[in-house]
């Protein structure tokens, strides 16, 4: 890895300040993704700002009956929190479906949102990749693309957001709270947090340079059956081919977000109106406009069938 400078920030605003001041600065918390990328020189930050000391590691009740999950809450702690498990089982299930116990002990809420794609071409610096090196081209579209996006991609990029946590948060209508240099804060609905690749696949989210995530808030519990179904080639420790995060109410209405298919957690609110009519109807609307490759066309079918599994489980 390239040499870099390092500092420990004392407050969120100070961290944001430092990051906007220093070109090529990155925040580091758990480091489970960033350090790997630095070793391969896919990420080459000149300066690291350690945010682990910022006391953003608490889960608090919000006045409206929701939860505020600090940016530095470790994935293990979030998944094990009694309030999360009781009222937001979907989130807990999604988190434990990801990574391994060791990684979840280290990974944070904010870091999980910001993890980068696992597209193999992104990881091989000999290969063209518009996300890693803008303008170099995309080797994946005509290459090995079984894991990659089937919807919302572009001619420049078919990478997926690889996470599970964000998919559940999308279904739960979470909000990402941030602070910028100067102390200004903003609340970004998770629907608008991750971008589609378009012609700027190097940009994963709408965060600005130096903007620091401080928390993710969850609105009051929505009840219902909360199911996270992750489909993968092996039983554990693998990224999703497709995952479905669903909240299903007793009357058959509900919400659905899908992972493993797009550059962001994929949710189409209009598709949810079809839920009482079953998986086929929901999937048809949800995946309308899908543009898979030869390698990953199966994902379109898989979304429908996984959704069917989830709805069957909800009925059971």
């Amino acid at each position: 890895m390239k040499p870099f400078t390092f500092e420990r920030a004392r407050t969120p605003a100070e961290a944001a300040e430092a990051a906007s001041r220093t070109a090529g600065a990155r925040f580091i918390a758990g480091g489970t993704n960033l350090l790997d990328l630095m070793k391969l020189q896919i990420e080459t930050p000149a300066h690291l700002i350690d945010v682990n000391g910022l006391a953003l590691d608490r889960i608090e009740d919000t006045p409206d009956g929701g939860l505020r999950i600090g940016a530095l809450v470790r994935n293990t702690d979030m998944a094990a929190d009694a309030r999360v498990r009781r009222a937001y089982g979907l989130l807990s299930r999604a988190v434990v479906a990801g990574a391994s116990g060791q990684l979840r002990n280290q990974a944070t809420t904010a870091g999980n949102l910001l993890q980068r794609t696992r597209c193999p071409y992104f990881y091989d610096t000999n290969q063209p990749c518009n996300k890693r090196q803008p303008g170099s081209g995309c080797a994946a579209i005509a290459g090995v693309s079984r894991q990659l996006a089937v919807i919302g991609g572009s001619d420049a990029c078919i990478a997926t957001h690889p996470g599970d946590m964000a998919v559940a948060m999308r279904a739960l209508d979470a909000t990402v709270e941030t602070v910028k240099a100067g102390g200004a804060t903003r609340r970004i609905p998770i629907a608008g947090f991750h971008r589609l690749p378009g012609d700027m696949p190097q940009v994963d989210t709408v965060l600005e340079q130096g903007e620091l995530i401080t928390a993710v808030t969850l609105p009051p519990p929505v009840g219902g059956k909360q199911i996270y179904r992750k489909v993968r080639d092996r039983a554990s420790y693998a990224f999703a081919l497709v995952s479905v995060a669903a909240v299903v109410q007793p009357d058959g209405t509900g919400r659905v977000a899908v992972g493993g298919v797009a550059h962001k957690p994929w949710r189409v609110e209009a598709a949810e109106a079809e839920m009482p009519r079953g998986a086929k109807a929901v999937a048809a609307r949800l995946m309308q406009g899908a543009n898979p490759t030869h390698d990953n066309a199966f994902k379109v079918t898989l979304v429908e069938r996984t959704l069917a599994a989830v709805l069957a489980e909800a009925r059971a």
Binding site: Y121, Y123, R146, D233, F298
Partner: protein
């Protein structure tokens, strides 16, 4: 000791120590992290520097220039050697691709430079500053596309399976044409990588013109010879040390770039150099199991008797590479008067294809044993009964050549009983357990038993302990333990009075670890040396060696009795000998057999396959240590599950490389994939194999497992998948509709 007549009763038959499920004696070293693996040999040479390999960014072409100025100026850099600085290195005798040297690029990630620096991080950072100018050349990377151009070729895996370009017995074409029931299908297996836990790693140190490498290598003597050849130095100037190996699976049979470049880097930096291949480099820089396209035709009478069987395999490799010998087991496994096997090799510019655990049989049985399942169904026969019907006790190509032991039928029958095979519904797609479609599958396991000479030195120390020295390796298999058991049995000592030293080219040359030949041959070598030591001891004590009994730390002859240690009172006694084999392997076909049984659940919605339980019933001669043998077999069964369900090096057929070149992209089974596994060893001794009467099991445990999984998936779903791995995308369109 020449072994040229079947073994009679010998001291091993006492089975006081041999045959017992003794814990591995190196276990505490491993569980406490104190077993010295190559990259941890901080102790062996002072002032070690770190090497880092730069791999080619193109799959084929030439290196025009290597710009190292910027890298040379990076912090901590001691030396950089580029491939243009040295002539093309010599080629190991079983390798195809060059490790380094010269301008030619034969495959992706072939080494083009080595950077040596004070720290690992410095070496890695500097390596990324090395700029290489390439001239790319068009290459061939698509086996399916090149298969029509493949040429017939014979070959040997070097590990016990071989076949000619075209081998015929009887008249296959006529017999197949007139067969009442027939099958003609094509199966494919993908490229696989060994994915062993310990990466390729070496510490290299020069002392004048003498080179010592502490490395991770399965075959110490081959490695010593090939390293000398690679570097063009006298073999006598090379010492290779490899006492602990964190898995090899055939990838570490040979000298790889880590060894060569550690030595070259150390010479350039004038310092000892430590170097490991990083995980993302291993898949493309080293060797892999080549993909195959296999056509199988079987013709039978209505009663299930096979009259015609053909197995034709096409694989790819670099120019002058060898084929994957996937047809080899079909020459021996089932009867039938009219037979055809053939192999074809397509020239590809992918990295070198070479040995991976059970080369030949592993992918060959993945195809053949699905074909047998399909054929049984066509015949309306139970797949076990169909196999039993076609059992043969002689080499089907040379009927005057019997198998030394062949208990395949017993393996299948006993396995059926234990597994509850009678509860299997022969009609596929009928059994459901909640959302799971449940099915059972069976396959025969088959792997040859290789005889190869092996030597050892055995020393009775003055304190009465016995030390064994041999260049044999323990690749996680339990070799330390079975060698100690052998010496303990022979010398009449408890295990704690035996010290075993392995993996040093200064020790007598052994069989090494490959082709599941290690256990039988290396212990037979220790047997031979121990016989010699017993004679020396008896002579020293003035006993008649022929009737001396070694037991309980004492030697008895007639009414005379002495402590074993007494023989070494005036100094240690040393004996060195080895086992060599006569022509028993020509007179008898020596093979090992198994019945593999698998139950799977296939998710009726998503098509995910998960194994529910597994059983292997093995007949493999005397089992020297049932505990370590079981570990070998369950590990192999796990590898079989990987091959069946998930393992595949994905080829970018335009860019010419294996894309998923790390352990996130190349999936192998995790704990959650592996449920209940049961292993049964049939009671067997094989006096034809060696004085130990043992055979190998480490590859038998893999051979056939993949097909048993595939057959179980078929039984569960009614969907026949003939292209491995059986990932859900190959099932999902054919599964029952869901709401």
């Amino acid at each position: 000791m020449k072994f040229d007549t079947p073994a009679t009763t010998n001291p091993i038959d006492q089975l006081k120590v041999v045959g017992k499920p003794i814990d591995r004696i190196d276990g505490p070293l491993k569980t406490t992290g104190t077993a010295p693996y190559a990259y941890e040999r901080h102790d062996v040479a002072p002032n070690q520097a770190y090497g880092y390999v730069v791999g080619s960014a193109i799959p084929k072409g030439r290196v025009n220039a290597v710009h190292v100025q910027e890298a040379m100026g990076a912090p901590g850099v001691l030396a950089i050697v580029s491939t243009l600085n040295v002539p093309q290195l010599g080629l190991g005798r079983m390798n195809t691709a060059r490790l380094f040297g010269g301008a030619e690029i034969q495959h992706y990630h072939q080494a083009v430079a080595v950077v040596v620096a004070e720290t690992f991080e410095q070496a890695r950072a500097a390596a990324m500053l090395v700029q290489v100018d390439y001239a790319g050349a068009p290459g061939k990377y698509d086996l399916a596309q090149e298969a029509p151009n493949a040429s017939p070729v014979g070959g040997s895996s070097g590990e016990g399976s071989s076949a000619g370009p075209v081998d015929r017995v009887g008249n296959f074409d006529a017999a197949f044409a007139s067969a009442v029931v027939k099958l003609d299908q094509t199966y494919t297996t993908p490229d696989e990588t060994h994915a062993m836990m310990e990466p390729f790693a070496t510490v290299a140190a020069w002392d004048g013109d003498k080179l010592t490498v502490w490395t991770s290598n399965q075959m110490v003597a081959w490695g010593k010879g090939d390293l000398a050849k690679t570097l063009d130095i006298p073999e006598a100037n090379v010492r290779l040390v490899s006492p602990f190996i964190g898995g090899g699976f055939g990838g570490k049979l040979f000298v790889r770039a880590d060894v060569a470049l550690a030595a070259i880097g150390a010479r350039a930096a004038k310092r000892p150099v430590k170097l490991a291949l990083t995980r993302p480099m291993i898949a493309n820089n080293t060797t892999h199991r080549p993909a195959t396209i296999q056509r199988i035709r079987i013709g039978a009478q209505p009663d299930g008797a096979i009259t015609a069987i053909a197995h034709e395999s096409t694989s790819g490799n670099l120019p002058k590479g060898k084929p994957e010998t996937a047809v080899a087991q079909t020459k021996l496994l089932y009867g039938g008067a009219n037979r055809l096997t053939s192999m074809r090799l397509a020239v590809l510019d992918l990295p070198e294809g070479n040995s991976m655990r059970a080369p030949g049989e592993a992918p060959g049985l993945m195809a053949l044993e699905i074909a047998m399942d399909e054929m049984a169904e066509k015949l309306g026969m139970d797949p076990i009964e169909f196999r039993i019907k076609n059992d043969t006790q002689v080499d089907p190509e040379k009927p005057d050549r019997p198998f030394s032991q062949r208990q395949l039928v017993q393996c299948l029958r006993q396995g059926a009983e234990r597994f509850g095979w009678k509860n299997r519904n022969p009609k596929p797609g009928q059994v459901q357990d909640g959302r799971w479609l449940v099915g059972m599958g069976v396959a025969a396991g088959f792997r040859n038993n290789q005889l190869t000479k092996s030597a050892a030195r055995v020393r009775l120390e003055t304190d009465g302990k016995v030390t064994v020295e041999t260049d044999m390796t323990d690749i996680g298999t339990g070799t330390y333990t079975i060698i100690a058991q052998t010496a303990a049995e022979m010398m009449g000592l408890p295990m704690n009075r035996v010290v075993v030293k392995l993996g040093d080219s200064d020790y007598p040359v052994s069989a090494g670890s490959g082709g599941q030949w290690g256990a039988n041959n290396s212990t037979a070598g220790v047997f031979a040396a121990s016989i010699k030591l017993r004679e020396t001891v008896a002579g020293r004590l003035g006993f008649n060696s022929a009737d001396a009994v070694f037991a309980d730390g004492r030697v008895r002859s007639g009414n005379r009795d002495a402590a074993l240690a007494d023989a070494a009172r005036d100094g240690a006694l040393v004996a060195e000998d080895g086992i060599e084999y006569g022509d028993l392997a020509k007179k008898y076909q020596q093979s090992t057999f198994a019945g593999h049984f698998v139950e799977v659940g296939v998710d009726s919605f998503t098509g995910e396959t998960r194994v529910r339980r597994m059983l292997a019933v093995c007949a493999a001669g005397r089992i020297l240590n049932p505990k370590s043998a079981r570990s070998q077999v369950i590990g192999a069964m796990t590898m079989g599950v990987g091959a069946a369900l998930m393992e595949e090096l994905a080829v970018d057929t335009k860019r010419g490389f294996f894309v998923n070149h790390d352990l996130a992209g190349y999936e192998v089974p995790v704990h959650a994939d592996i449920p209940y596994q049961e292993v049964v060893f049939l009671d067997e001794t094989d006096p034809i194999s060696s004085p130990m009467k043992a055979k190998g099991v480490g590859e038998l445990g893999l051979c056939g497992v993949g097909a048993a999984v595939a057959n179980a998936v078929y039984n569960a779903t009614g969907v026949r998948v003939r292209d491995y791995p059986l990932t859900l995308d190959k099932l999902i369109d054919q599964l029952p509709q869901v709401a």
